[in-house]
Amino acid sequence: MRRSLVAVLLIVVLVTLAFAIPAAASSTRRLCARSVALRDSPEGFVIGRLYRPQRLRYKRRSANRRWALVRTRAGVAGWIPYRSLCRA
């Protein structure tokens, strides 16, 4: 009885981790701004011009919470204003 209870708990924990870890690492977000410049750094150079609708891999938010580090479908990573992303 105790052994089966442990097994069930273990499965629940594993399933939870399997879903939780990728979600925390990155997620797919849509671009809501009409157009936005993709920069190599928040204060850096423009390395791309993106237009909506476009799906982006959202990686993280800057310390001042104004910028988002994203990766385009073409594999280019850069920073865009966080508010240009659609709300999750």
């Binding site: 750094s41 204060e43 150079f45 423009v46 993106l50 993280r60």
Partner: protein, 475 residues
């Protein structure tokens, strides 16, 4: 259904009586239909009832004249709706072009959308209404009627088919085509002038017609029409430069100086070819890569950390040590094209200034501040009909530290040293292991004041961002 048939039969009897000279019969027609027609007109007009009444009066006047003009069979009710719709559209067009300034029409309910509380949103909303009216007026009559009856009046396809005398499937096609045309028209209006001109230049060069999207844009853009007229004038002028061999030979035969005149013709042709060659060399022709070096007028405005003033207005001289390189790219259906733009000798890739008409980004191998040429992946905007895009890259000569940031102090901070990023890309952290504040890229010069913690180093980038990177990132 039975009621409708009975009403139709009554209408036919009233038409016959009116055509026989009984004016009271028309008064009866008016009494029977005017309320529904006013409701319909009000929906089309979207504003005050006094205009709806005027529209219905005008429609009734036209109906009375038309009914006595001949004896053809008329389905009265749908026919009156069509008349009312035409009169309402005439009224909208009159309002749009003559009497009411949309920008001043505060009483327009449609312009007071709840979401449009911000001034710029209100202006945009008014512009959208103005453009939509223009697009509706430009639709073929049947498409316009079908769309308005479906969208505004909510009429079923079966009833609409009855009105128009076509099958329900045909009305669906009409509404579908009308919607498609409105979308295409809106896209054409919003497409970038640079991209349209690029397409015109390519079509001109290849001796073919420009795309349908370009022609749609031309109907709404006077500047681009002027540009096309300029292209045609240039072609005519160029034709004058060309020697006409048959005429030259004829003149030569007549004067007995065929050899001399032919030689002269050859010289004229050579001069024209040479002039064209110079134009191409100078980058004056829109096909291929164009380079705008220091002192030349900038082809478009730009904002960049690589520019001394941080920005450059269109037409102003490109500053020393910088260049703008651009190319028009055809957007085929076969996938996203890449285009390579080489920077002039001694300069490095800086900002991607513009990719008008498409999404674009440097491919992974292109590194800002390091690469001598930029390879750009260009992707058509989803749903866009644009067939070409103009890609522009800013190039900058690096300073002695390798930075392409303009106006940066050349000296180092006291006790600090300049290092360079050794990895392709790394993140800059607020504190070791903390939140990210930015990124650094391969070859980027960073200044370090010596602050370090186990495996971490505090740096300031040439763009002024300060943060921590792992020690192995710089060297």
């Amino acid at each position: 259904m039975l009621e409708l048939r009975r009403q139709t039969a009554d209408d036919q009897a009233l038409i016959d009586a009116f055509r026989d000279g009984d004016d009271a019969a028309f008064a009866r027609i008016h009494e029977r239909h005017h309320a529904a027609l006013e409701r319909y007109a009000r929906k089309v007009l979207g504003r005050g009832s006094e205009h709806a009444e005027d529209v219905v009066q005008e429609a009734m006047l036209r109906a009375s004249r038309a009914l006595r003009r001949d004896d053809r069979h008329i389905e009265l009710r749908p026919w009156l709706y069509r008349l009312t719709r035409n009169c309402a559209l005439d009224e909208l067009a009159r309002v749009r072009t003559d009497s009411v300034n949309v920008d001043d029409a505060e009483e327009w309910g449609a312009l007071r959308a709840p979401a449009a509380s911000e001034p710029d949103a209100v202006v945009e909303s008014r512009g959208n209404v103005r453009d939509l009216l223009g697009d509706l007026a430009g639709l073929p009559a049947q498409q316009r009627h079908a769309l308005l009856r479906r969208e505004v009046d909510g009429v079923s396809h079966a009833a609409l088919a009855d009105e128009l005398g076509v099958s329900p499937q045909a009305t669906k096609n009409l509404v579908h085509r009308a919607r498609t045309n409105l979308v295409k028209q809106r896209d054409a209006r919003s497409s970038d002038c640079e991209a349209v001109r690029g397409d015109l230049l390519e079509a001109h060069d290849e001796g073919r017609r420009a795309s349908a999207a370009t022609y749609r844009h031309l109907t709404t853009c006077a500047d681009c029409r002027h540009f096309r007229a300029g292209l045609r004038a240039t072609r005519r002028a160029a034709a004058i430069l060309m020697p006409m061999p048959l005429m030259v030979v004829a003149v030569g035969l007549l004067t007995g100086k065929a050899a001399a005149v032919t030689a002269k013709g050859a010289m004229v042709k050579s001069a024209a070819t040479a002039a064209a060659g110079v134009a191409v060399t100078a980058g004056a022709v829109g096909v291929g890569v164009q380079v705008f070096g220091p002192g030349e007028p900038a082809p478009q405005s730009a904002t960049s950390r690589a520019l001394p003033a941080g920005e450059l207005a269109k037409g102003k001289q490109v500053p020393a040590g910088t260049a703008m390189v651009r190319k028009t790219v055809a957007l085929g259906r076969s996938g996203a094209p890449t285009v390579t733009l080489p920077c002039p000798a001694g300069t490095r890739v800086a900002d991607l200034i513009g990719a008008r008409g498409a999404s674009a980004s440097y491919v992974r191998g292109t590194v800002v501040g390091v690469s001598h040429s930029a390879t750009v992946l260009v992707q058509p905007r989803p749903g866009s009909q644009t067939t070409s895009a103009v890609v522009t890259v800013l190039c900058k000569r690096p300073d002695r530290t390798g930075s392409i940031v303009a106006g940066r102090p050349q000296g180092h901070a006291a006790g600090g040293v300049t290092l360079h990023v050794k990895v392709r890309s790394a993140e800059l952290f607020q504190r070791p292991g903390g939140a990210a504040v930015g990124s650094v890229r391969l070859g980027q010069p960073v200044r370090t004041g010596g602050a370090a913690r186990h495996g971490w180093r505090k740096v300031t980038t040439d763009t002024g961002e300060t943060g921590w990177v792992r020690t192995r990132v710089v060297g």
